[in-house]
Point group: C2
Chain length 537, copies 2
Amino acid sequence: MSKNVLFIMCDQLRNDYLGCAGHPTIRTPHIDALAARGVRFSRAYVQSPICGPSRMCAYTGRYVRSHGTDYNNVPLRVGEWTLGDHLNSFGARAVLCGKTHARADIDGMKRLGIDPASPKGRQIGEAGFEVWDRLDGMHPPGLKHPSHYNDYLRENGFDGDNPWQDWAASVVDTDGTVKNGWLNEHAHLPARIPEEHSETAYATNRAMAFIETAGDAPWCLHLSYIKPHWPMVAPAPYHAMYGPDDVVPVVRSEAERDSAHPVYQVAQDRKHATIYNRPGARERVVACYMGLITQIDDHIGRLMAWLDETGRAEDTLIVFTSDHGDYLGDHWMGEKQFFHDAAVRVPLIVVDPTPEADATRGTVDTRLAEMIDILPTTVEFMGGELRSNILEGRSLLPLVRGENVVWRDCVFSEADFSRSPARQELDRPTDQCRMVMAFDGRWKYVHTQGLRPMLFDLEADPDEMTDLGTHPDYEAVRARMKNRVLDWAFGGKSRITQTDAFIETKPPEFAKGVFVGFWDRAEADQALAAYQQEKAG
Amino acid sequence: MSKNVLFIMCDQLRNDYLGCAGHPTIRTPHIDALAARGVRFSRAYVQSPICGPSRMCAYTGRYVRSHGTDYNNVPLRVGEWTLGDHLNSFGARAVLCGKTHARADIDGMKRLGIDPASPKGRQIGEAGFEVWDRLDGMHPPGLKHPSHYNDYLRENGFDGDNPWQDWAASVVDTDGTVKNGWLNEHAHLPARIPEEHSETAYATNRAMAFIETAGDAPWCLHLSYIKPHWPMVAPAPYHAMYGPDDVVPVVRSEAERDSAHPVYQVAQDRKHATIYNRPGARERVVACYMGLITQIDDHIGRLMAWLDETGRAEDTLIVFTSDHGDYLGDHWMGEKQFFHDAAVRVPLIVVDPTPEADATRGTVDTRLAEMIDILPTTVEFMGGELRSNILEGRSLLPLVRGENVVWRDCVFSEADFSRSPARQELDRPTDQCRMVMAFDGRWKYVHTQGLRPMLFDLEADPDEMTDLGTHPDYEAVRARMKNRVLDWAFGGKSRITQTDAFIETKPPEFAKGVFVGFWDRAEADQALAAYQQEKAG
């Protein structure tokens, strides 16, 4: 039986905006059903709370400090091992349907004599994926990548230079006028595009089309939705599915603003944060956000029914996750980019169709999971080699199959505020703006280059309202967590060209005639004889 | 005037085995003269006290944790920026004459569709160098790379399958019998090869031949001697130039053996260390080592005279250094690989021919220099771009030119004992055997994964006899140094595909129409107008 993987990713979906995660009003019955078929990892963390870097972590199985893409649109360096490289090494395919946020390292390819337009160059430029359909999020005119979706829209009569902007990301007011979907005052209006032609419907259709026509080679299909990421535009009926009463209250306190960490203080002053201080704005935006999630849920339901019907659900491992969350005004912040659970914790559901996983179906696993675990999970499920000298994540398969393993006790995530106004406001050198979060299940510690640390006790303070980063009573905790950060910083896997197994089985130099520190022939002969004996015995 | 660089490297030359560095008996008048022409950096440290990794640091301007070659024969990953990449980017050449210890990343090239046999593939495989003459050290039969030197030997009548082994690395006993040069009991016997055909003479001749025929493009020639590295074989008359009276006493104490760090304890028990406990062995080996150094010195003299004569000394920056030192029995250790000055500190002389450097000629600069500084020094001298998002070293040119700069106050070096018996004896996982040294000019602190730290006070204890790694009085010093290691661990430059300048000059997203967190048109227009005004003003 062929073993395939369907790796579904949403964009900017918070960990707590699912019914199965405890949200009181959102309706996500199909995703909840997915959780019931498999294991929901309730404490899953991304390795960067921002699209591009988080995705490159997913596609390389490595931390940002290792793959180097530390912000959106930083090209993934040529030569990084991607999901595609790992799968291709044993004859499997890594296929893209949707968003990657990958930027091609054109200069790197040219420097190495690789033609970016060649098949290999294109695969390198697509973060290792074979592109079935790239749908990389809406771009204003002049900035967009070539997009299959724009072609599709035109073919279906939605015309214009950039029909995506003009139809899918535009809204229609009650008087029939078309309005700019970028502006959040319009978040309660329906998209100009009919739902069946919207991004989420389109991506789901395209995924099914791939699976239908996929050949014999085993595949991992990355179905990567661009929603519920902004622009805040939902097609009817989802635009009006939720109202102010469905929106949970914002999580924030005056104290959080008064004594914010300098980097967070700057973040609190940004437009995407202060918009939530405008009366009614949050209710309008969050209702739209929720509608977009329920729309995804409906398509997940459609997709799962189809997989069951075609029998593909039986041989396909399903992963459902998101690249990061969204502050939605919590902690006086907007967007993502930093380390509160709102931004850095994501949904993660793994459905393993094999009988080995029957015992864990419908369970919630509270062990700490990382986005970089998905690649090794995929490789192990498909029967490939787990390259321990490259991969920094761990396969979740033993957990899903109820095996007894010693698991990690800390997760890590990185940010770089050199692209935030904080760099200039805090007068930091461009290459000295790094932050690392270490979370051990209770303590969330954030180390920041050249600035004070942060510390939150998620047991006593699950909403992360009180920063203990300078509190005198927690010096020992901070010292302990700082050591974890140091250990982590030391653990980078940069020796990608030589395996651990090679090191463990390498014969001594003298076995090859390189006698270093040998005095005479007798010593050399004695060492060789002892080595031969050890090898034989 | 063309600006060239002659980058001379010895192999395994200790910092203190030069007349100008204070050695009481060794004769190195020509290297001393080189120091008198330029600046001698008396506290220069390599970033790994072992050949391959140290050289890759030199050829990339980056720490081991960044380039990934953490031991000999670990291929340098395809895509790492090398000296060749930096120089080629502005039309200059990086040319090899001698040793690099580079291993080609054949698998990496194949994965990226690069033909290892193509000109580009060959350059990648040679750590970015254009090979004029590769002389990578003697290899026993069956292991050697294709070598120009072997061809040369055959052409000159020194026959055999591996004439290097049979002539240059073999010795002749007093009765005329030929003996194996690998065995150290023969270190006092002359090489079978006449001096004028020995490796050091050959490499020097080949360097002059390159310079003579180099075209108009500016070049950096890497003249990389394989000596005084073992096998301990010196040609006449250098084999007998020094005797037991010229050998300085060994530096070690009983206490060092009794309370050695676990990793060092294993190192003290290895054959290349215990050989120095055999009466008379050290005297014989070190005398040979000294002879090989004086041989290099004579050829440096010949080379400098020729450069003066041809006028090339006027347009050529000269760097003289070594890839690491040699314990020679000090601290009960042999070989290199760890962090005493004997192994990790190297000679470093920089001769800048321009008038800007006249004021510093003949001076000794005690500021902390690193091997990774040579690449940026070369690039700056030749007028190229210093890529701050890639380079981890700093150009020494401002120091050589007497400019007023804020300089570093700590140097770092790395080791990985996963290839030492220490891994198994101390039961460490293969990927958890890293050590990092931080030296701030007084305190030398060594952080080791999973094991206790080491600490030496080089002011009170310049010979590094007393390890304060667990001494209760030095807790504060250790904490401070540990913070330096943490800062260093955080400073890795992995974002090689995007420059710092790009980040600093990037316009805000909304300038491109990506309005995140904007409520209405008025807000958008206001932000755009303010941005335009700021740009104009």
